[in-house]
Amino acid sequence: MTDTPTDAAIDVDTLEKTYAGDVHAVRGISFQVPAGEVFGLLGPNGAGKSTTVGMLTTTIRPTGGSARLAGFDVATQSLAARAVSSVVFQEAVVDRALSGRRHLDLHARLWRVAPREASDRIDDLVEVLHLADLIDRPVATYSGGERRRLEIARALVSRPRVLFLDEPTVGLDPRIRAELLDVIATLRDGAATTILLTTHYLEEAERLCDRLAVMHRGEVVAIGAPQQLRAELGDEVVELRARDDGAAMLALLQDRGLAGPGAFTVGATVTIPLRGRSAAEVIAGIEATRVRTVSVTSRETTLDDVYLHLTGGELADAA
């Protein structure tokens, strides 16, 4: 077992977690994240994202496979793995009675940051994350967005090699979400920290992630850069809403050669990846069949289309 760092900041090999009652939360997933990359785990609630993060942060014991953070095995070298990482959890993880500064100081001490460096680091983070007006107040007085900024600051005090952000913007209002995304984007631009971000928000994944893994029911169904994943369906899709049965309409369109094998239906909505074909041509063909539709439109391919194509489910459904 080596103690020297490998090239991959995160190395996951057939990692799995099965709970009592034969509940397979994570089913043998594998991926590697090079140092400095922002890697996303995209999927709805229940896909296994938080369980994966729990195993990588050693708060959940894997039932199979292995994982390493900066070369340290999370099961057999858990202390070393925790020393090189930090987590911002989905739920609030704070002592409400303590001040923000006390939280940062506690984190620095537990991660054994030298006092002088901790003091300078805390001052830097307070400035960068706009916490100066809050930092000496009890956390109980913070808003949701302020508390989340404090948690990000706390996670960065120890200069982690690997930073986990577990659904960092869930439950926040749109303005606060936008501000927080700016903060996280700043992290990826300025630091060499590897970031693993879990989310079910498409715009977060597209904006922040260099690569992402799409998870569904405990499995990784696709890995790649957002543009690469979208490119598998083409740049554009035609979306139509049927008056009657969407599946029957899809079968008809496939029979007429207007929809390829990558087309899919969700309820009454049929989505047809164009894959280089002209939207006008396909729409004209659909109208010529005189099928009964509520609407027919063309638009850019989104990660939701990718997810639906891969899994048949919608990311926003469980949001």
Binding site: T58, D95, R96, L110, R112, V113, L187, A191
Partner: protein, 220 residues
């Protein structure tokens, strides 16, 4: 917001602080959460004072017993203070879990056992303070403790081990119940059993001889 943050760039690891180890850091945190105001320190001390100044004399009068009974109550109260105080200290574990703070601590690069030790230090200190206050007030009330060297050491060892064992029970119970309400409901039943054992032990072989003014008596 600033677009670039050069200060956040990764730097080589610097020498780590040894000045305040993780155990003391955890204990300091627990103390800050347990005693944020002077009231939170003073109020727990009222219990032993109440026993020594009010309850013991009242029982003696009500039961028409001799002065030795106050001594019996004084030493018996220690056996009640320790399990009650340590068991209620376990509520802090539940609060940590419900607030989410426990998850942050579990991701720290420290042995998980230190989380328990940090809490134990504070529970031990507060319990020790209560016992000390009880003995001081009992002494002021007129109960004389004729302490022998071996007796004092026996008492210290017994009380320390009792405190550690009861706090272990508290942590175990806190880890196994889902809510603070259920935990509180179980505490009296769990605390009473060792108290009875303490009193029985005290009555068979007193750790030190006690007397009130004008008479010497053993702890019955």
């Amino acid at each position: 917001m600033t677009a670039t943050t050069p200060d956040l760039a990764l730097v080589p690891s610097l020498p780590r602080s040894r000045r305040l180890g993780p155990v003391l850091t955890l204990a300091q945190r627990r103390f800050q959460l347990s005693a944020r105001t002077p009231r939170e320190l003073v109020v727990p001390l009222l219990t032993p004072i109440l026993f020594a100044l009010v309850i013991a004399p009242a029982l003696k009068s009500a039961l028409h017993t001799s002065a030795e009974y106050e001594a019996f109550v004084a030493t018996g109260t220690i056996g009640l203070l320790i399990p009650l105080n340590t068991m209620f200290a376990g509520i802090g574990v539940l609060v940590d879990r419900e607030s989410g703070a426990q998850r942050e601590l579990l991701t720290a690069p420290i042995s998980r056992a230190l989380l328990v030790v940090g809490n134990l230090i504070v529970a031990f200190a507060i319990t020790g303070l209560q016992v000390a206050v009880l003995l001081v007030v009992a002494r002021a009330r007129g109960i004389h403790f004729h302490v022998t060297g071996s007796g004092f050491l026996w008492f210290l060892a017994a009380a320390s081990l009792f405190t550690i064992a009861m706090y272990g029970a508290a942590e175990t119970l806190a880890a196994s119940v889902p809510s603070a309400e259920e935990y509180i409901g179980r505490v009296p039943a769990i605390a009473i059993v060792p108290w009875c054992s303490w009193r029985a032990r005290c009555s068979r072989s007193p750790p030190f001889r006690v007397s009130s003014r004008g008479s010497r008596a053993s702890c019955p």
